[in-house]
Each structure stands twice: as structure tokens, then as C-alpha cells.
């Protein structure tokens, strides 16, 4: 689910088709720098309705999604 939302956010930002965004796509190749990542994270928070702390460097869409899912799972455990 997270991947679909992230892909959608990137596609919207880059004016491209969602199908072009793959888990192995690198942020650098998508023209997304670290500031853009923070902005994307904020939009993702709005969509998920919860806060995410991104404190590590991620290079691909897949890594970012895995990280977010990990946080969501942790939050679930603690709930």
C-alpha cells in the first residue's frame, strides 16, 4: 500500500505515469534530492495520517517504502 502511495506522489511530482516508478528506481535518477524527499515524506504523512521519522539515507523508492513500512509495523506493535 505504501508503495502505491509513494509511486503516486512521485508520478504527480514528475508529471509521469505511475507505471514508470519502480521499487528499484533511484531517487537521484528521478531528480529527487534530499529536500524533495522531506517534502514527499510530509505528503506521505498526510496520506497515512501519522508521523514518520526519516533518519537514514535512502537511495531507491523500494528502500524508502521498506523503511516506512518498518516504522508503521513498529507503531502497530506499540499500539
Amino acid at each position: 500500500m505504501v508503495f502505491e502511495i509513494v509511486a503516486e506522489l512521485i508520478a504527480e511530482r514528475n508529471d509521469c505515469d505511475v507505471s514508470e516508478i519502480k521499487p528499484e528506481s533511484k531517487f537521484s535518477e528521478l531528480g529527487i534530492d534530499s529536500l524533495d524527499t522531506v517534502e514527499m515524506m510530509m505528503s506521505l504523512e498526510e496520506r497515512l495520517g501519522r508521523e514518520i521519522e526519516l533518519d537514514r539515507k535512502v537511495e531507491t523508492v523500494g528502500e524508502f517504502v521498506a523503511y516506512v513500512e518498518e516504522q508503521l509495523a513498529k507503531a502497530e506493535e506499540n499500539a
Binding site: 534530492d33 534530499s34 529536500l35 522531506v38 510530509m42
Partner: protein
């Protein structure tokens, strides 16, 4: 708010002041940017002695070297000063721990997200002031518990964002309840006054201090800043995701050309390695990257750091006092 204690004359003199002065215990709401390799303990102390907030730039230095600079600053001044931590530095972790141990008054951070150090710093009473270049980053840092924000526009020297100061500052002011310090393109009292009009309650000045007597950069570096005209800076490094603004030089032109040619990322990375240090210490125009903001064009003379602080404050005071002439 005026403080009688800060004026020796019995007559109360109105002066530039804001909540950032009270928060940090400084006379003027003027920060000196924590320029890597440039802003050492001596420069930071001179600025703090002059009533501003001096900031030591940790850059890519290991904790041991930063500690030396903190000690130098403390031997010169008892006033508060800060340390800027460049979060991309391989030594960021150890410098973050050092400033907590040393209980430095203020920490500013650049090139990243300092959230993971926030609790450690706040627990020892350090005021944390991240440098932000976008609204999302400003929101994130507000949430993470920052005490104030430096909103730095792309006119600045060194690592830069895209937005100009004129646009970024009001946007950041709208996005946070924290005090905002404007940076990027500010070298005199006119720009400082304008920043207050945009909603900032302080300014951070970098490039102007390159001309300070207490700034120990190479003679060639200083001369190039003093000679710089309005079109003499260039932004390189966009391709690797870390754009920096520097003075045009044989090095920056060659790098710029390489960046837009078939040269590999690794080769580019190699070209840039050590270039900041070489500029500062050796003044070599073929191999050094002379970081400076667009405001280099406004820097015309060498003078003591304290005089720079006072000049900026007094000019801003004069302009702000006269500002009502625009409303009739």
C-alpha cells in the same frame, strides 16, 4: 524591548533587538555563518565579542579539531557562541557528542536532518537552530523541537537550496511559530532591515565576514572576495545533489564544464575533494573552491568583525526607524 543594562549612557538608546537576543543572551540579532574551514574559534569569538553570535564551522573536521577551536573561542570571549555541524560530515556523530559535552550555547546544523541528536542537545540546554532551505524542512525541524530556524536562501555561499531569501523567509515564517533568522544575500544593514520586514527576527551573515581582520583565510581568497562583482559567483555540484555557490575561478569553471560533460560521478567527486580546504589554506585558484555568496559583490573593505556587526546593526536601525516614511 529595551534593556537599560546594555547601555552605558543614562539616556535610553533605541537599538535593533528581537526575541532572538533574549533567547540567546546576545546584544544584536546578528549571526556569523558557520562557514566550513573558514569560521574558526578566533573569528567566532570576535563576532561574539562584538555583540553578535559567532559560530564555529565544524565542516568536515574531526571532534578533536573542533574542540581546539571551542577552546580558542573560550580563551577570547566569555560571551555565547555556537558551532555549526555539517551533517554530511563523516565526523557528524562525534562532533554532535562533543558539543553536548562542551555545552556549547548554540548549535546550528546544515546539509541534513539533525533529529537524532536533538534530545541529547536539549538535555544539556543547548539551543538548536537548524538551517533550512524549504518549507517542508522548516515544518519537520519545528516538530523535532528546534529552538529557532535559519532560513537560508540560494544567494548564500556554500551549500545552497533553490529558493531565494525573499521568497523563502516569509514562507518559512508562515510555516513555523519559531523565531526565524534570515540568511543568504545579507551583507549590510539594508538587507538586514529587509529581512526583518519579511518576518525574520535575526539575520545570519557569512560572506561579509570573509573580509574580517580576524578571518584567517588565505590572502588570495580575501582579495577575490573584495574584487568580486555581481556576476562573479557560480553554483556547481547540482548533478551530485549537493549544489554549492562559489566565486568563479579556473577550478569552478573546469568543474562546471565537467559536470555537464560525460565525466563520471566518481571522477567529479574526486575533482571536488579537498577543494574547500585548498582555497582557504593555500589560496590555489587552479585547485581551490572559494565558497562565497552573491553578496561578495557588496563586500568592499577589510575591517574588524565587531565593526562589521555594529555597522550592519546601526544601518538596519536607521533604516527601520525611517521606514514609516513609506506610509503616508
Amino acid at each position: 524591548m529595551w534593556h537599560t543594562s546594555r547601555n552605558s549612557s543614562p539616556k535610553l538608546k533605541k537599538m535593533l533587538n528581537s526575541k532572538i537576543c533574549e533567547l540567546l543572551g546576545i546584544k544584536y540579532p546578528i549571526f556569523q555563518g558557520g562557514m566550513a574551514w573558514v569560521a574558526d574559534g578566533k573569528l567566532a569569538a570576535a563576532v561574539s565579542e562584538g555583540g553578535g553570535l559567532g559560530i564555529i564551522g565544524a565542516g568536515n573536521a574531526p571532534a578533536e579539531q573542533v574542540k581546539e577551536q571551542i577552546e580558542i573561542a573560550r580563551s577570547i570571549t566569555s560571551k555565547p557562541f555556537g558551532v555549526n555541524i555539517m551533517l554530511m560530515s563523516p565526523y557528524a556523530d562525534e562532533v554532535a557528542e562533543l558539543v553536548a559535552r562542551e555545552r556549547v550555547a548554540v548549535v546550528t546544523t546544515g546539509a541534513g536532518n539533525p533529529s537524532k541528536y536533538m534530545a541529547m542537545w536539549k538535555s544539556v540546554g543547548i539551543k538548536v537552530i537548524p538551517v533550512v532551505a524549504s518549507v517542508a524542512m522548516a515544518k519537520l525541524m519545528t516538530r523535532a523541537g528546534a529552538d529557532a530556524l535559519v532560513a537560508e536562501g540560494g544567494e548564500a555561499g556554500g551549500h545552497v537550496g533553490e529558493l531565494s531569501t525573499m521568497v523563502l523567509v516569509p514562507l518559512v515564517c508562515d510555516a513555523t511559530h519559531l523565531p526565524v533568522i534570515a540568511a543568504g544575500g545579507i551583507a549590510d544593514g539594508r538587507a538586514a532591515a529587509a529581512a526583518f520586514m519579511l518576518g525574520a527576527c535575526g539575520v545570519q551573515v557569512g560572506t561579509r565576514f570573509l573580509s574580517a581582520y580576524e578571518c584567517s583565510i588565505h590572502r588570495n581568497y580575501k582579495d577575490r572576495v573584495l574584487r568580486a562583482g555581481d556576476l562573479d559567483t557560480i553554483v556547481t555540484g547540482k548533478r551530485l545533489g549537493h549544489p554549492v555557490r562559489s566565486l568563479k575561478s579556473p577550478f569552478s569553471r573546469a568543474y562546471f564544464k565537467a559536470e555537464y560533460s560525460g565525466v563520471s560521478d566518481e571522477e567529479l567527486d574526486r575533482m571536488g575533494t579537498g577543494a574547500f580546504r585548498i582555497a582557504v589554506q593555500e589560496g590555489d585558484i587552479e585547485r581551490g573552491c572559494f565558497l562565497a555568496g552573491q553578496s561578495a559583490a557588496l563586500v568592499k573593505k577589510e575591517q574588524p568583525a565587531a565593526e562589521i556587526v555594529r555597522e550592519i546593526a546601526e544601518e538596519a536601525e536607521r533604516i527601520l526607524m525611517e521606514a514609516q516614511k513609506w506610509v503616508k
